[in-house]
Amino acid sequence: TEENPKAEKDTAETVRLTVSAAVSLTDALEEIKTNYEKNTDVELIFNLGGSGSLAQQIQQGAPVDVFISANQDWMDTLDEQDLILKSTREDITGNKLVLIAGSSSNLNYRLVNDISADDIKQISIGNPESVPVGKYSEQVLKNLKMWNDLENKLILGKNVRQVLTYVETGNVDIGFVYESDALSSENIKILTTVEDGLHEPIIYPAAVLTDTKHEKESTEFVTYIASEEAQKVLAKYGFKK
């Protein structure tokens, strides 16, 4: 059965890989882990958190083998400090930005352009200074010249989940979140998916860290995430390149 080969695997030399990954990937990675561990001698340990915190931990020498960031900036930072193996860096998936409202809301915007300052009391986005999703949201609103109208209605969240909670509980009228997060909630509806051209592409890069003791296995895992089998799983949770 399932248990026995695994027990054998432990006695054979199982390699443990610590993967620091953006927290939004949690559910998708759990499924990928199950698939991956079935066919390899590798045990995956996920350290989940905001990309910023994860990068800071790595800078301070946390024993991590693979880093999956929710944006390019933090990966670039580590790159500049030679903390990642450049050759292993790969964009493994992406996400889309969506505009959401509570499931019982009577707003039915078709386009981001439809948002009118008169309809809404409050709008929530991630904090552009620190949360990637907030930065993208700001780009959208600025590109559409709506930022000035809406600025005094903004509630800034520390992460996507907080934006989602505000919308779910009806405390704000609308918010911008990732599609993957929107799919995980039953209490909201997606009003529209934001056009790609309105913000920088949302890319999740992965890379093996310079300090790893298991370069081979780590590189194999990064390659695996880019493979079709893993991409299918990611797509199921709303992640598309």
Binding site: G52, S53, S124, N127, E129, I155, L156, T165, T169
Partner: protein, 214 residues
Amino acid sequence: MLDVNYSPLWLSLKTATIATVIVFILGMFLARLLARNSFFGKSVIEAIILLPLVLPPTVVGFGLLYLFGKNGFLGRLLLDLFEFQVVFSWYAVIIAAVVVSFPLMYQSASAAFKQFDENIENAAYTMGASKWKVFRTISFPLAWPGLLAGLVLSFARALGEFGATLMLAGYIPNVTDTIPLAIYFAVESGNMEMAKFWVLIIVSLGFTAILWLN
């Protein structure tokens, strides 16, 4: 030079002070009331008071959001009665600070009132002093070391409150951006200069408060 908006400083000072005053008064009287009685259910009350301490502040904030939010029981009540929305307001900052620092004050005060000789109070009563006078002139000063400890802890906790505040009050520049929020976002966005600046400020505030209280 850093380009600093000082709003967090005033906001933090104001909210922490108000929250501490509320917590101090409520915590002290509740503790006095319960200190020398023991009844069934007292432990339950004490456990509920302690709850915000065992939960991560974000979860506390989550709970408060459910309570004070648009669809929450208290939120709707306030909205219906006063057309007042707590969430995302300055009051939300105070509520969050009060809830998280209350257990510290209550526990300290409760211990303080258990730790002095009751007979001194009786002596004051024989001199015709009212309950309030005895509390003010006898019980309060005799329990002062413990009450002071609670005050210091509450003020520090209120000043440093972050998770619940962020959840209930949101991060709205000039309205709900306390120093801890400013620190958090500075750190998260990698603006270490700004983070250090605010850490220094909050540390000096803590220092001043302690020196002044001692």
